[in-house]
Symmetry: C2
Subunit: 339 residues, 2 copies
């Protein structure tokens, strides 16, 4: 089966090991190891013979065996459901940066439940990843600190002031403030905000709401926070709840684009239109928002940059940095037709 590799003592099916290479190059296994890691003290002639044997046998080191003595040059990424298009933008940023740094990024999908996320993270640690990037983890800070004691950790999309790990988050408060400012400049006075119940400290919804509250206060307006669910269904319900009031707000800022898109959809379904019946602004900057048919005003969180930064922080940390870094990425308001 498969392309017949030269001769060699490969008993058809067994993967060649470092011993096979050593035998074929007539050197010791240790020598092969040295060549492969280009460690100090190998003669050109030996390097040559080893490299020949390696390519003739198609030898590839077994990472799990290496990992018993060294690292794996692998970053573990725990990700939320990528069907929320915000996630793939983060992942793309991480993967791109990992490639640049000659690390592999291994992604595992998990849901929003803290216990499941913790288990997913541990499972990657069991597999000897060198470090971990956790996307908006909802577990307790205690759990995070304990995890960070086992492996270098970067939080992506969660604000963290803790010295045990690094973090990259969007400046969520700023994003909400920019949105409110914009809506006010368009003449809106009754501006609602939609969020979800936060399950842990440091998550975006907390800072977005704070930013919103501070901004409306600054403009002398009254806060109007609707707590629902960050889902399509949550967005639909939001429209009905808002427009069902005696005096509905004239604008709403949803804490996530998935919600804002559903708001737009429900609005259309009811025969309404944004911004006339209700101005709508989202948050995330997902690609669908940019479609002309949708044209949703949103807060671009610079997801790719955030992901890349998270990977870079982790790589730096693995390279020896000791002081924690907590970065806030400034978001950008993208004004479109729905406001």
């Amino acid at each position: 089966m498969a392309a017949a590799r030269t001769t060699g003592p490969r008993p058809a099916g067994r993967r060649p090991t470092i011993v096979d290479v050593a035998r074929r190059a007539a050197v010791s296994p240790a020598a092969v190891s040295k060549v492969l890691r280009n460690a100090y003290g190998v003669s050109p002639s030996m390097r040559e013979r080893v490299e020949t044997a390696v390519s003739e046998l198609g030898y590839r080191p077994m990472v799990s065996a290496q990992s018993m003595r060294t690292g794996t040059r692998t970053l573990g990424v725990s990700s939320l459901d990528p069907r929320n298009p915000f996630i793939p933008m983060l992942l793309d940023g991480v993967a791109r940066e990992a490639r640049r740094s000659a690390f592999s990024a291994l992604i595992t999908l998990t849901d929003a439940d803290g216990a499941t996320q913790l288990e997913a993270a541990r499972s990657m640690v069991d597999r000897q990843v060198d470090g971990l990037i956790l996307i908006t983890p909802t577990m307790s800070e205690d759990d995070l600190v304990q995890l960070a004691a086992e492996v270098p950790l970067v939080l992506l999309g969660r604000h963290g002031a803790h010295p045990a790990f690094d973090s990259v988050a969007s400046d969520d408060a700023l994003g909400a403030a920019l949105t409110v400012d914009h809506l006010v400049s368009r003449g809106h006075r009754r501006i609602a905000f939609h969020t979800q119940p936060t399950r842990s400290g440091g998550l975006p919804e907390e800072f977005r709401e704070a930013g919103y509250r501070e901004a409306v206060r600054r403009h002398g307006l009254q806060a109007d926070v609707v707590v629902g669910e960050w889902s399509a269904e949550g967005g639909r319900r939001l429209v009905d709840e808002l427009l069902g009031r005696p005096t509905p707000p004239t604008a709403v800022h949803a804490g996530a684009d998935m919600v804002a898109l559903a708001v737009l959809d429900r609005l259309l379904e009811r025969g309404g239109r944004a911004p006339d019946d209700l101005a709508v602004a989202g948050c995330d900057g997902v690609p669908a928002a940019a479609l002309r048919a949708v044209s949703l005003t949103t807060v671009d969180q610079q997801a790719a940059e955030m992901g890349g930064l998270a990977a870079r922080l982790l790589v730096e940390r693995l390279a020896g940095r000791a002081e924690p870094r907590h970065v806030l990425v400034p978001p950008q308001l993208v004004v479109r037709a729905t406001t």
Copy 2:
């Protein structure tokens, strides 16, 4: 640091090993191993003591060490860029089924280039995954066969008749035929099809084009295939090329939703509208197509089912199935406003 685990001889920082557990339970490491894998021949009393020690120490086996003797219960998934929303639907199906089967799914992101994909796959094999799921791999069949000789393999989104691996694909020809039938039933006679140059045998575009050609022939119409690029830019160019003709087609079927969405967008930009100026049908069934503001007719490929099926086939194979399975999933036409 971290929650003080009882006492135990853990020298603060070192992860507990099977030897630590054995010592604490006053049994041999072999016994611990047996309990953990609930192998034959362990007394209830020993099981009890070992389990206590395990939880007291917070012991977790190191997968790389296990993997020197056994498998890892890990499925490797090589995925294309998930910013194409079709991909996350596949991944979700895979992840869900993996969880059901008590396997971990580890995902690595790669681009459409065959050599890069092969390297990504090999890299997962180096990490001792038990099997591999490759999403629309563009590498040569030779490469695939060689890979399949090293590890059980399932192609997802590539038609394969080869006995060396399993495959799950959408019945792409049927999807294109359904679309053409629908367009004809709406009175269209000049129906264009947009595809991209295929880089390897077995990829969807090949079968979609064949299905399209066969369908128009059946209806006594003339085939009109435009070869471009499956990207937003490709979609925009497609509109200009089509509407720039002396006698433009009245409908176009794009081989991917990403293209169809861009077609809609460019159409709007030119002041046109679907279906009046050009009927548009896509293929994939991405969520954005379902938004009322977009309402794109498309071929739902049942991505989640495809992904789940791929994972199930791989798990079956790992459980010992020897005969190859090649499954074609029937797609479903979802008619919306753009046609």
